[in-house]
């Protein structure tokens, strides 16, 4: 059997220990007779010895009519490891909330056993099913079988990336909108933008049902849609007392951790000044049986987060403080399209929306996307005096003149 031929003393060290081992996974598939996996073990063992990777930049490979969804990858040791000379990745768009039936999973496995290494990531950190490693020749057949079974590729390159969402209303009592439906709806609405790169750079959507932000949207998506509410937190005082009886220090651990100190506990009842509640979720998180978000729910929409390359990492910032989230989610779609229009026209190559916002100035950006500036968009107003007053009066006539 494949594995018998090959000694991987370093990788073998990674089969030990309580956490499930990725080496064991590759080995399992090698043992199934996947030559690619066997050679991958060899290549990886070598990387472990040499402390460098052995992959080259991927050229443009993909499936017909799509500009994304495949990451081309080639080994730089093609002679020694011919089975992984090509080792491309397919990104398969996951179902909202990463829900599967056993049959659905088996369908994907069958396809991938026929056409690829049998290795996957469940899932990639953008959210896709990652089918890890196949040859250029297998791309089309894999794609054909995937689509035949109602699966499609996700995003890569300068396009809309595969949106993802938290489990939301499917299994969470705090969901302030239907994250699964919103994610699916937006994904379907932007299929063309997702499959055919036409932007200056990538654009990611992430949908979280409440401010706990379980898909890290505020840190990892160009457009972050985070559920919230604008009425009162629902309180069950009996349950509050039960938590207290059970030994919870409500004064110190709950009220004391409220960012705006808008809660009061008199030993018998909790009182919340909802006008000063910033919907941080802490008290609700701590007492799920006693407290629940309000019923007038929606989402806060933020723009611009990204990894540090190259202007430094960014968190998304508030554009719409509160938006009702109902199908067909026009508010989200309009905003996205207005952003893309401006970005498409003024964005530099490989400039993310968050970088564009800063380069042109948030104020100008808002004007361009036709959104009124409001104080909710800033942590604090400017503290430097360098205001670009855009017009001034000319001598003679008292009228205002636009500066050219």
């Amino acid at each position: 059997m494949a594995d018998s031929q090959r000694s991987t003393p370093m990788l073998d060290e990674l089969k030990k220990g309580p956490w499930p081992s990725f080496v064991t996974q590759i080995q399992e598939m090698a043992d199934e007779g996947k030559e690619a996996c066997d050679q991958l073990l060899g290549l990886l063992e070598r990387s472990y010895h040499e402390k460098v990777g052995h992959w080259k930049h991927g050229g443009i490979v993909g499936v017909m009519g799509y500009g994304g969804g495949v990451i081309g990858r080639y080994s730089d040791l093609q002679q020694e490891y011919p089975a992984i000379a090509h080792f491309h990745t397919l990104r398969v768009n996951q179902p909202s909330g990463w829900f599967y039936t056993s049959d659905a999973l088996r369908t994907v496995c069958d396809i991938w056993d026929r056409h690829g290494s049998g290795l996957t990531n469940m899932h990639g950190s953008t959210g896709d099913i990652i089918l890890l490693g196949t040859t250029t020749a297998e791309l089309e057949p894999t794609f054909a079988e995937l689509t035949a079974n109602d699966f499609d590729l996700g995003g890569s390159g300068s396009n809309v990336r595969t949106p993802s969402c938290c489990v939301g209303p499917a299994r969470c009592e705090w969901a302030c909108y239907d994250t699964l439906d919103a994610c699916y709806n937006i994904t379907m609405a932007f299929q063309d933008e997702l499959h055919r790169p036409a932007f200056p750079y990538k654009f990611k959507f992430k949908f979280s049902g409440c401010p706990n932000d379980c898909v890290a949207s505020i840190a990892r998506s160009d457009m972050s849609i985070i559920g919230t509410w604008r009425d009162e937190i629902r309180i069950d005082q009996d349950e509050v007392r039960n938590y207290a009886k059970a030994g919870m220090n409500i004064e110190r651990d709950i009220c004391g951790n409220c960012p705006t100190k808008c809660m009061a506990w008199d030993g018998n009842e909790i009182e919340i000044d909802d006008s000063n509640c910033v919907k941080c979720m802490h008290c609700i998180n701590a007492m799920p049986k006693a407290l629940r978000p309000g019923v007038d729910t929606g989402a806060t929409v933020l723009l611009g987060s990204k990894a540090p390359i190259v202007e430094g990492a960014q968190l998304s910032s508030v554009i719409i403080p509160f938006l009702k989230m109902e199908p067909p989610y026009e508010g989200i779609k309009d905003l996205a399209e207005r952003v893309w229009d401006f970005w498409g026209e003024h964005g530099k190559n490989r400039e993310r929306v968050g970088e564009l916002m800063q380069r042109v100035g948030l104020g100008n950006f808002l004007e361009a996307i036709e959104v009124e500036p409001i104080p909710e968009m800033v942590a604090y107003p400017r503290d430097n005096p360098y205001v670009f007053y855009e017009e001034y009066f000319e001598e003679g006539d008292g009228e205002e003149e636009e500066e050219q």
């Binding site: 309580p18 956490w19 499930p20 064991t24 996974q25 590759i26 598939m29 990886l44 040499e50 402390k51 990777g53 992959w55 080259k56 930049h57 768009n93 996951q94 179902p95 909202s96 990463w98 599967y100 039936t101 056993s102 999973l105 496995c109 049998g118 996957t120 990531n121 469940m122 899932h123 950190s125 890890l132 689509t147 699966f151 499609d152 993802s164 209303p169 499917a170 299994r171 969470c172 009592e173 994904t187 499959h195 932000d213 890290a216 840190a219 951790n257 960012p259 979720m281 802490h282 799920p288 049986k289 629940r292 990894a307 540090p308 390359i309 190259v310 202007e311 990492a313 968190l315 190559n349």
Partner: protein, 358 residues
Amino acid sequence: MATDRRTDIGPPHYERFLPPIIKANYGKWKYHEILKPGVMVHVGESGDKLFTVRAGSPRLMGTKRIRKFAELADKYCGGHLRFTSRHNCEFLLTDQANIDPLIAELAELGHPVGGIGAAISSIVHTQGWVHCHSAATDASGVVKCVMDDLIEYFDGTKKLPGKLRIALACCLNMCGAVHCSDIAILGVHRRPPKVQHENMKKLCEIPNVVASCPTAAIRPAEVNGMPSVEIDEELCMFCANCFSVCPALPMADALNDGISIWVGGKVSNARSEPKFSKLAIPFIANNPPRWPEVTSAVRKIVEVWAENARNYERLGEFIERIGWPKFFELTEIEFTKQHIDDYKYAGLSFKRSAQLRH
């Protein structure tokens, strides 16, 4: 653009995969309770109960193991399961009696159950030497070692003050989006790109390469007759943006690549606003296969936090309460000039007050 092929169909609709109990209680869940490590129950307004068993996963899985999970789902969950945003596998049960047998079979398979509530969950990570050309360290290997070492905080044998979110990215592109993690493990290059003059013209567009450098360290230059670039090494901050646009500027370097450790970030809005992770340890050399220096550094930080933090306090919130000087003292990490920001927003990170502990 229409083709006769089936395209742009998007993902299968999620409803096809939801278990009946979820369809029945969709959006009508009332509360949840953590029953034991890795097991929680969600109770609907209807009174229905959905039990979740969360199993740790290596994320990199072969179809064989995935089929195994499918079998378990058939046996215990009517065929229903899901994966989480941190890549754990969640089995969705309606029959409480099935929980322990399932956990037993998962243990059999080598998958610990845990990661719910005030615990460490799986480490969000990336490709590393398994698949990426840009990696400064391996991803899955380091993750495996750290999780082996911290397993007792996953399976509930040891308690934590709050959630512990660790992430790993194998280069500054930060596919693991580690920048807002309680603890971030980040692969770093420390040597400027070595220019492959012979490939430059063939593989890269020199103006793009020059433009790609944020510090203007790259200048066009003619090298033995051929158009190429030269790099002012003093100005290089190892971002690898040039390499992303030009394969002829490799950054990977066995002698100099390694890992940096960052702490105190968070994503949730709970209590304090989302925060970036801050530099704790600038560099630890790659030491495969087990990266012992990395695992012990991470453990030390986790233990200091576990011992000293208050209920609900995330690592970053804990550090802000005790102050950074105290954090470096407790963790015995050396503070160096590299910890002091010198990039765009540097000034705002200076201590601009006399509010000090003495």
